[in-house]
Symmetry: C2
Subunit: 401 residues, 2 copies
C-alpha cells in the first residue's frame, strides 16, 4: 500500500470540481461535485442525531437504490431545521446534477454543511450547478476538497493504492470537519471513491468497519451534528475481479479503506477548532469494551482535562476525576495512569514529583498517548481527543458574526 | 421567611473561624472551622464520583453515627488520590478538632478542596487547628466562608429565618465552587447549619430534597469532582418543638432549606469560572422526567451552545443539534424553542429573521430562560447553565501554574 497524490479523483474514472456560487459571502469555493464516469455501488454512514438535516434524509432515501453516480456538496449552509422546503431544495440540487451529467436523480447524493436553520439560496445553486458540471475534470479533486470546508483551515485529502489480483486498486477521499466532532460522527463530511469492483452490501460493511475504527474514535467538542455523512462510491474501473467478503483480496481492500478513513480522521483532529494538541486516550484492563469506551469518552470530553492539555499542566488528578465520574464501576485503588508509557499513578495514588516532572515534559509535545489501566479485565478501547484553547472559544463565539 | 445577615453562624449556637495556615502559598485564609455549642443530628450528600477523596470517605463513615458537632474544611489541597495516607491525614484533622473542642472524633466532619494527588501538609494543620479553635466566634461566618474558596472570586453565604411554632428558626450556609460544576454535585462544598430541632432521618430526607432542586440542577463544565459534599447540622437550640416529617411546620423548614440551597447554588453559578451569563434551560412536553432532564443536560453541557451564549449569537441551530443528539427519541417536527417566551422555532423550523433579531437582543442579558417544548407528553425539567468564555480556558489552563 502506498500513498499517492490526487485525493478523491485518484481512482480511475472519477472527475471533480469546486467553485464559488455565492452561498458563502466571502469569495471562496462553496460548491463541490464528484462524478464517476460509470455508476456503481455506494455505501453510506450517517449522523445519529435525530434532528437530521434535509440532505441526510435525502441520501438515506437514495441509498435504498444502492447505486451512485455523483455527489454534490455545498458549504456555508447546512440545510438543517428547514422543514419540508429544505427537503424539496435538496431534491432540486440532486435533480440539477442528474440533468447535467445525464443520470437518474436517485443516483445523485447531496451533502450540506454550515449554518443551521436558514433556507438554501437556490438561485445560486440553479446558476452554479451547470457551470460546475462543465468544469469537472480529473485534476479537480483539490478544488472540490476546498469547496466543502467551513471553519477548517486546511483541505483534507487522501489517496492510497495497492495491488489486488494483479491490478492497481485505488481509494481516494476528502473530508471536512473541525467543530462538533465526536464519536458516532461529527459535523463531518467524508467522501471516498474507489475503482475497486465490489458489491454494495460488501462495500457497506467495509465502510462501517472503517468508520468505526476512525471517524467514530475522535472527539473535539462532544457535539454530534445534524449533517454528518460518510459516503463511499465504487465504480469497478480498475478492472480487478469483484471482491468477495472474507477473501484475502477483500482484506487488502479493507486495509486500504481503513487507512484512508484513519488518515482523514486524523487530519480532521489536527485541524480541529483551536486545536494545538492531539492526544490518544487508551483504556485497558476494562471488564467490557463498552466500559473501556465509556471511560475513554469521559476523559476525552472533559473540559477540565482538555484545558489542562492546552495549558500543558500535568494535572493528572483531572483524568482521575473523569474516570471516577464515567459511570463505570471502577475500583479507585487499582487505577494506573501513564503518559507515553511513563507511569504517574499506581494503585490509585501518585508516584511523586519526579514522575510528574517527566510527564510535564511529555505534555509539551504536539501529540502523545495517555494510557489508563482499570485492572478489572481484558477489554480495551482508544479514542483521540484534542485540547480546548482560547481559539476554540473565539471561533465558536463569533461563528456567525 | 426573610433573609438575614450572618451566614453559617446566623442560627443560634454556632461559632466559626477561618485563618491562613500555609496550605495555600498565597497568604489567604485556607482553613475554616464551624462548631455548634451542642451536638445534633447531621445530614450529608456526597459526590457520586467513584474516585472519592479521603475526606468524603471519612465523612461517609462518621455519618453512620448520625451526630455532628464540628466541621473542619481546608482549601488548596483536595486530599484526593492520596491513598491510605490521605485517609489517615483526614482522620488526624478530625482528631485535632475533637481534642480542641472536646468532642468525639466521629462527630467531626472534614472537607477538602484544591489540587488532587498531593499529600496534605499536616505540619500546617497540626500548628493551625489549635489557633483556629481559639478564634471561634459568633461573627466568624464570613471569614470561614472565605477560607473554603479556591478559584472562586466571591464568598458565598446565606441566612434565612422564619417563625415555626412561635419560635424564630434560622438556616445558615456557606459554599464554594466554581469549576467542575455539574448535576449530581460539583467541585462544590456546601455547609448548612440550623437551630431547628429535627431527627436525623427527617433532616437527611429534607437535605436530599433541597439538593435535588438546587445543586443538582446547575452545570458549569460537566465535570463532577472527587470531593463534593453538602452537610447540614441541626442543633435544636431555637427551642422550637421537634419537626415531624409531613407536618406544616416541617414544610416551613423544608422551604427554608430549599431557599438556602438554591441561593447558594445560584451564587456558585454566577461565580462560575469565566462565567458572564447564567441561563435557565427549561424542557417541557417530554414523555418522562428522565427524558426531559436528559435533553436539558445535553443542551446545558454543549460547548457549542455555551460558546454561542458567550458570543451572544442567536445560533439556535446548536440547541436543536444538542436536542437531536441527546439520545431521547424526539420528533424533530414537533420541536418548539423559545427565549424568554419569544418563539424562534415551531414544528422544527425557524420562525424567521425578525424573531431571530428579537432573540439576539435577549441574549445580551446576563440571565435569561431558554424553553424547549418536545410535544410528546407532560413531563418537564429545568437546569441552569453558564457560558464558556476565554476566561474559563485561561483559569483552567493555568490552574496550577
Amino acid at each position: 500500500m502506498k500513498e499517492i497524490r490526487g485525493g478523491i479523483t485518484a481512482p480511475l474514472g472519477f472527475l471533480a470540481a469546486g467553485i464559488h456560487v455565492g452561498i458563502k459571502k466571502a469569495s471562496v469555493p462553496d460548491l463541490a461535485l464528484v462524478v464517476s464516469l460509470q455508476e456503481g455501488p455506494i455505501a453510506g454512514v450517517f449522523t445519529k442525531n435525530r434532528v437530521a438535516a434535509a440532505p441526510v434524509l435525502l441520501d438515506r432515501l437514495h441509498l435504498r437504490q444502492r447505486i451512485g453516480r455523483a455527489i454534490i456538496i455545498n458549504s456555508g449552509n447546512a440545510n438543517a431545521c428547514t422543514g419540508a422546503m429544505g427537503l424539496t431544495d435538496a431534491e432540486e440540487m440532486a435533480g440539477l446534477v442528474a440533468r447535467g451529467v445525464g443520470t437518474a436523480p436517485h443516483s445523485v447524493f447531496v451533502g450540506s454543511t454550515g449554518v443551521i436553520g436558514q433556507p438554501l439560496p437556490m438561485a445560486c445553486l440553479r446558476r452554479g450547478i451547470p457551470t460546475l458540471v462543465k468544469r469537472l475534470r480529473r485534476s479537480g479533486g483539490a478544488e472540490a476538497a476546498k469547496a466543502i470546508l467551513t471553519t477548517d483551515t486546511k483541505a483534507k485529502q487522501v489517496a492510497l493504492r495497492t495491488r489486488i489480483a494483479g491490478r492497481r486498486v485505488t481509494v481516494g477521499g476528502m473530508a471536512k470537519g473541525s467543530g462538533m466532532i465526536h464519536p458516532d460522527l461529527a459535523t463531518m463530511l467524508a467522501y471516498l471513491t474507489t475503482d475497486a469492483a465490489i458489491q454494495q452490501r460488501t462495500l457497506q460493511r467495509a465502510l462501517l468497519a472503517a468508520v468505526t475504527r476512525s471517524f467514530n474514535c475522535i472527539s473535539i467538542d462532544g457535539d454530534t451534528s445534524t449533517n454528518d455523512t460518510v459516503l463511499c462510491l465504487a465504480n469497478g474501473m480498475a478492472g480487478a475481479p469483484v471482491l468477495r467478503a472474507g477473501s484475502p483480496e477483500f482484506a487488502l481492500f479493507q486495509r486500504l479503506l481503513d487507512h484512508a478513513c484513519f488518515s482523514l480522521a486524523m487530519q480532521v483532529c489536527r485541524d480541529g477548532e483551536g486545536v494545538t494538541k492531539v492526544v490518544e486516550v487508551v483504556v485497558t484492563g476494562a471488564r467490557t469494551q463498552a466500559n473501556a469506551r465509556q471511560v475513554a469518552k469521559t476523559i476525552a470530553t472533559s473540559n477540565l482535562v482538555k484545558t489542562a492539555l492546552f495549558g500543558e499542566d500535568a494535572n493528572w488528578g483531572r483524568i482521575m476525576a473523569a474516570i471516577g465520574r464515567s459511570g463505570v464501576r471502577i475500583d479507585p485503588n487499582k487505577l494506573e495512569l501513564a503518559f507515553e508509557g511513563i507511569p504517574i499513578v499506581k494503585e490509585g495514588t501518585s508516584l511523586g514529583s519526579l514522575a510528574e516532572r517527566r510527564i510535564a515534559r511529555i505534555m509539551r509535545r504536539k501529540e502523545f498517548t495517555v494510557t489508563v489501566h482499570l485492572g478489572q479485565g481484558q477489554a480495551a478501547a482508544r479514542l483521540w481527543t484534542t485540547d480546548l484553547s482560547y481559539d476554540y472559544v473565539r471561533i465558536n463565539a463569533t461563528y456567525r458574526s
